[in-house]
Amino acid sequence: MDDLYRDHILDHYENPRFHGNLPDADFVHEEDNPLCGDRLRIAVKLSEDHTRIANAAFEGDGCIISQAAASMLLEHVVGQSVEEVERFEPQAMLELVGVPLTANRVKCALLGLKVLKTGLKLWQLQHRNGNTPE
């Protein structure tokens, strides 16, 4: 009946993947959604050569959509290359979530991706020595 809260969304919400802490993370980034106070913190461990997402974990509180989407996001990106993550567009994220969302709920679904990408960019700014990407 309720397309927004389909089984796979509720499942990710109730049994989040990659949830918790990551003590040996290369970077941790946290943001909130000023609209509703949803908060998300993502920790990422990169591969030794810094080209892949070796592991990740999220932690936060907020609505079903933001938390389930974060779980789905990390399930998707862990093991991927950094380049793949950089190329991962909001539109693809919404397809991953796979339920119809109104404009404000889109922000919830994209919060995780925003936190991940911003965290990655900040890390790159600090680590690509002298070579500041755009």
Binding site: M1, L10, L35, G37, D38, R39, C63
Partner: protein, 416 residues
């Protein structure tokens, strides 16, 4: 389900005046977010259209008929607003964009001129950001200290704390008449009197009271009072600042430009009289006329009847919601002391999800921190759900809300 008790307003009859309840493709509109902004009756839209289609020209400066007609309509709206809150004269009414701008005007033009390092401002823990952020900016800029009247566990202001808070350093006391989250109707008269006793200037944020109950600035005795038109059946883009005449006269202007000056030369500028001194540039005069029509509409209903209707529907909502398992209600449980605002959470459900689920049933509630993050910190929650009522909500809207809440629980597989 209980039968809805009788109302003091003929809600079903007056709903006909609000086109939005008819135009949403036959889907029911259970609009429970009037505390954020209210719907508009056709009388308000017609008043504005009438200006645009038959008496439109810029105000104040034209000597031809269209401009004279527009000016007369604008100033008549000022008179109506003054009468509505029993202001002593129309020229104590300054038109702004919204309550937020009114409060900023006080912070810029009054407080920055009159407060000094070491002075103190008393607010409360339940303020809307509009009556919080302008003061934090001032505090940082000027070394002024902010202090807060705490709230009790039941969601009332703890006025016992006033004795300690109201030191001789306190120069300004600013507080919400009615909380947009807890719904609590604060004893504005008592706070104003206590503040005046120590010589502090008083600011009442009446954004949630003027639309919903009789408010009399002279009886309150406050120095400033602010509210927004869009929350009281009026259009967007128009707000009100009431100020004591002598204070307004002594204040420097805030925004400057055309209309607010008496004389401008290369070396000298002289300000216009109050209230024009505070209305720089072309004002939102059509919106003011719309607000005037809203005031007429509310006056015809009778603000006592409006309040009584809201008391009834609020009491009914408090009763019905407390029967839903998992619901936690914030603020006083006694509708006598509560405006038409009921904020709550549902266990295990984020307010955002709740609002989305209710929206499926055509029920509009608000979810989030309602621009009162400090209060939410104080309450220990990130976000809440809020249902708020106005003249057009029949008691059956509460029934629809409760039914939909139960459906939401079912959809989220919440057992009881």
């Amino acid at each position: 389900m209980k039968a809805s008790p009788a109302c003091s307003l003929d809600v079903h009859r007056l709903r006909v005046d609000f086109p939005i309840f008819a135009t949403r493709d036959g889907r029911p509109v259970v609009f429970l977010d009037s505390a954020a902004s209210s719907q508009k009756p056709r009388q308000v839209l017609e008043a504005m259209n009438a200006i645009y289609t038959s008496a439109y020209a810029n105000v104040h400066r034209g000597v031809y008929q269209l401009s004279e007609a527009a000016t007369a309509a604008y100033e008549a709206a000022r008179e109506k607003v003054a009468r509505f809150i029993n202001a002593p004269a129309a020229d104590t009414i300054v038109f702004t964009r919204n309550a937020t701008e009114s409060l900023n005007l006080i912070a810029y033009a009054y407080a920055r001129t009159n407060l000094r390092e070491g002075d103190e401002i008393v607010l409360t823990e339940l303020e809307h950001h509009a009556n919080f952020v302008p003061w934090t900016v001032l505090a940082k800029e000027r070394g002024v200290k902010l202090k807060f009247i705490p709230i009790t566990e039941q969601g009332y202001l703890n006025l016992d704390a006033l004795d300690e808070l109201l030191t001789s350093r306190v120069k300004l006391v600013s507080f919400a008449h009615v909380s947009n989250v807890l719904g609590v109707i604060n004893d504005a008269h008592a706070i104003v009197q206590r503040a005046k006793a120590i010589g502090a200037v008083t600011v009442v944020d009446a954004s949630q009271s003027v639309p919903h109950m009789p408010v009399d600035v002279q009886a309150l005795g406050c120095d400033f009072l602010v509210f927004s038109g869009h929350k009281m059946l009026g259009p967007t883009g128009i707000g009100v600042l009431y100020g004591r005449r002598d204070l307004l006269e002594a204040m420097p202007p805030f925004l400057t430009g055309g209309d607010m000056i008496r004389y401008v030369g290369f070396d000298e500028v002289r300000w216009n009289d109050v209230p024009f001194k505070f209305e720089a540039g072309t004002p939102a005069f059509v919106e003011a006329v719309g607000l005037g029509a809203a005031v007429d509409y509310l006056t015809a209903l009778g603000m006592q009847a409006v309040r009584e209707h809201e008391r009834q529907i609020t009491a009914y909502a408090l009763e019905r919601l407390s029967e839903v398992s998992g619901v936690r209600i914030f603020g006083p449980l006694d509708a006598e002391h509560r405006g038409g605002v009921v904020t709550f959470t549902l266990e295990r459900v984020h307010p955002h999800d709740l609002a989305s689920l209710l929206d499926r049933d055509g029920i509009a509630i608000r979810a989030g921190h309602h621009c009162a993050q400090p209060l939410h910190q104080r309450l220990g929650v990130n976000a809440t759900a809020r249902a708020s009522f106005y003249v057009y909500n029949p008691l059956s809207d509460v029934d629809a809300l409760v039914t939909s809440l139960e459906r939401a629980k079912a959809a989220l597989r919440i057992k009881r």
